[in-house]
């Protein structure tokens, strides 16, 4: 079971890191970006295509990150140009359209068959007491807290972070003060898009790397973000890692392993029911 929990850290770290991207997107540009992982897929598959064509990994990976960043920037520009005044719900609905569109583009560009994704983090890092920790699990588990710490520092210690926080609270007021909201929003999309690609580049070589599965990692990532209330970076990391560990443990329990993919939905449902309890109780009274 401990083996399962450690194995679950790889997935959990990815959920947490993608969840951080979602939390940052929601806090800063008011959208639940359901296309977050799909943007990453473009980067991963672009990288795999270039690697298959003979480009060294050290060049293919940055090219993939750049591709994901550019695609995300284009989507962010569309959102900032035409839907700047729309509410978070409308913008999130548009993000679902982006998800569907990106999957279609990905199938057209890369074909429908899963592609072998090269990665530098294969193999075991260490074995302690019979429990093996893979390199991918270690990188993923460390990546999410590092990202959270980096994002916190960016938002609290830099001029750009200060502007992003102002923009997230009062976009119109920020613009009236000369803060370039569109440029910052597009930059946020691009940065989180490249981050999503980086995360998927770590996990894709370790698991089934078909485009739909990778793109739908946004669901457990949403679960992680929901644990943090789409506000807390720490809560998101804890939610993602916890979810991964839970799935890893379930995978080792024979009677329950078939339900492991239902865990994110169960957690989402539980959080939503819990968060609505006061309204329901007030209405009942």
């Amino acid at each position: 079971m401990l083996d399962g929990a450690v194995a679950g850290l790889a997935g959990g770290g990815a959920y947490a890191a993608l969840g951080l991207c979602l939390t940052l997107m929601f806090r800063l540009v008011r959208v639940v970006n359901f296309a977050q992982a799909a943007i990453g897929v473009i980067g991963v598959y672009g990288m795999a295509l270039l690697a298959d064509a003979g480009l060294p990994y050290a060049l293919a990976a940055p090219a993939g990150l750049l591709a994901a960043g550019l695609v995300a920037a284009a989507l962010g520009w569309i959102m900032a140009r035409w839907f700047a005044e729309a509410g978070a719900d409308q913008r999130s609905a548009i993000a679902i359209a982006f998800l569907v569109g990106l999957l279609a583009v990905s199938f057209l560009a890369f074909g429908t068959h899963p592609r072998r994704v090269p990665g530098p983090f294969g193999g075991a890092l260490l074995t302690v007491g019979g429990v093996t920790v893979t390199r991918a699990a270690a990188v993923c588990a460390l990546l999410a807290p590092a990202l959270a710490a980096g994002a916190h520092l960016l938002l609290t210690r830099t001029a750009v972070g200060l502007r992003l926080r102002a923009l997230s609270e009062r976009p119109t007021t920020a613009e009236l003060l000369g803060i370039p909201s569109r440029r910052l929003a597009v930059g946020t999309w691009a940065a989180t898009g490249a981050l999503a690609a980086a995360v998927l580049m770590v996990v894709a070589p370790q698991q089934s790397a078909d485009q739909s599965s990778l793109a739908l990692m946004v669901i457990p990532a949403c679960t992680a973000a929901l644990v943090g209330g789409f506000r807390s970076l720490t809560g998101t990391v804890a939610g993602g890692l916890g979810l991964g560990v839970m799935q890893g443990v379930l995978a080792h329990v024979e009677d329950l392993q078939q339900y492991r993919d239902a865990v994110p939905f169960a957690v989402i449902l539980a959080i939503l029911v819990w968060s609505q309890r006061r309204e329901v109780w007030d209405a009942a009274r």
Partner: protein, 235 residues
């Protein structure tokens, strides 16, 4: 910088709100725009700042037409709108509210110089301040942008007259420093005390444009203008 509005009309959706507005706000002066609720004062300021489009007419800032410039570009030309409702960034501290538009220590010093009471509260989240202090932060933040033209919309809203009496001299001081001030205010009597010129907007059109003296001297004139009547000379 001189702000000149010529034949300006603004609509919200399909509904026309203001029409035929001709107004000049010279530098170093406080130009007061008065009028009853719903007259279109906020709409006019928002259009000048680029929040709403003009339906007709144009705004010229020191000879340059503002048409085609979005609100960010207008802000960078030196136009600052102090919106209604104490629009602080509530999660940011007082110091951060100023630093977000101007990171220099000088900007913060000037803010404290204008409103010494903020000096003790620089590290407090702006959302935790009193209404009057929040309005001081908003004014200080606008000042930190280095504005040439300051559009101030109902800064007294929800504040006690004693606080307004504290804020209006600060606005006067900004104008005396060379800033062009276009002030929309409901405390008409207090606003007229610091005004160099006055306009009254009623039903979407200007019903008085001229020196503030006659409005100060005769409340009847002011009331008539509020009711949409063009004031006549008193015998």
């Amino acid at each position: 910088m001189t702000l000149e509005l010529s034949g300006v009309a603004v609509a919200r959706g399909a509904a026309p709100v203001v029409r035929d507005i001709d107004l000049t706000a010279p530098p170093g002066a406080v130009t007061v725009l008065l009028g009853p609720n719903g007259a279109g004062k906020t709409t006019l300021l928002e259009a000048v700042a680029g929040v709403l489009p003009f339906a007709a007419g144009n705004a010229v800032l020191d000879g340059a037409d503002l048409a085609g410039l979005d609100r960010v570009a207008r802000a960078r030309r030196g136009l600052a709108l102090v919106e209604q409702g104490r629009t602080v960034f509530s999660a940011l501290t007082v110091a951060e509210n100023v630093r977000v538009v101007n990171g220099s220590a000088d900007a913060l010093d000037r803010a404290v110089e204008l409103f010494p009471e903020l000096g003790r509260r620089l590290d407090v989240a702006a959302g935790l301040l009193s209404g009057g202090e929040q309005q001081m932060v908003v004014l200080a933040r606008a000042l930190a942008t280095g504005p040439k033209v300051l559009l101030i919309d109902e800064m007294s809203l929800g504040l006690a007259p004693v606080i307004v009496r504290r804020l209006l001299p600060a606005v006067r001081a900004l104008a005396d420093g060379g800033v062009t001030v276009l002030l929309v205010e409901q405390f008409a009597t207090l606003a007229l005390e610091i005004a160099d010129s006055a306009h009254v907007l009623a039903g979407g059109a200007l019903t008085y444009s001229g020196p503030p003296g006659p409005l100060r001297a005769s409340p009847g004139r002011l009331h008539a203008a509020y009711l949409g009547e063009t004031p006549t000379e008193e015998p």
